[in-house]
């Protein structure tokens, strides 16, 4: 059973990190195009990474 739940954890973690990057990175990208700036994509990606990592910690770390 432990092996199975490990496997599940791997893909859950990957999913969180990926969707964090995609969603907030995407928001940043479109905000950049809207405001004609160039740094909001980076901010979005960092936010998404942070959020994804935070979710992983909430789910598995505490």
């Amino acid at each position: 059973m432990t092996k199975r739940s490990d496997e599940s954890a791997i893909w859950t973690i990957l999913g969180y990190l990926l969707s964090g990057l995609l969603f907030w990175g995407g928001v940043g990208y479109f905000a950049d195009r809207f405001f004609n700036t160039s740094y909001l994509t980076l901010v979005g990606i960092l936010m998404g990474m942070g959020g994804g990592l935070y979710l992983v910690w909430l789910r598995f770390g505490r």
Binding site: L14, G15, S19, G20, M47
Partner: protein, 262 residues
Amino acid sequence: MRALLNLSAKGDEFVPPSSRDFVLPPIFEDIAFLTKPILFSFVAAILVGLFFSASARKAAVVPSKFQFAGELVYGFVRKDLGTEILGHEFRRFMPYLFTLFTFILTNNIFGIVPFIQFPTFSRISFAYVLGIIAFGVFHYVGLRKQGVKKYIKDIMFMPGVPKPVYILLTPIEIATYLVVRPLTLSLRLFANMFAGHLLLMIFFLGGEHLLQGAVAMKFVGVLSFGMGIALTFFEFLVQCLQAYIFTLLTALYIAGGLADEH
């Protein structure tokens, strides 16, 4: 594989295989939709159906070899993916999981069966359809089991977080459940089949091209063929593993919907 191996060379240039080689023409010119992957996805469905209904028909206490083979596969899915992950409710999902596993496995193994040699799921639409079906199943199960309100609340709000942080986290959770999970499910299967087929094409077509060169080249060509054969066995491993992991993750997602908290 390209129909004729000679196609690997245009004049003296070697044309490496590319994604274009996955776009196959219709088998009969006047039936546009019937391409090789379409045909063999149907063949796989028929094969799986026939094999397992035949192996179960004359089910006896002392099984024939045929029945034994069928029960081996079923037992594997039942024990490894059914009871261990889904617990006592596994019986409801066995038809789906078992069909999923055997169908993907058969289609994948078509990639290394001589003269067929095309894994159906190296065309991405096939993988997308399976992803969409799995998506429908595990959300439906979760919604039925926990009720619409609780299920959505569980997905959107991770407990024990200060309220403002939900602005950051909730979109990520929604994206995970609605987009990333089914998408990665499909893409993992597709990418593995695509890359494996491309790899085999490179070694065999490249080997064939090298054999037409000078003596030293011929030697390398033989090596390339040897490598191709070794990789074929490796592909077999990958094909089994991908069928397994697709079914495993589907079962895990269903189990996640059945569980009280996600």
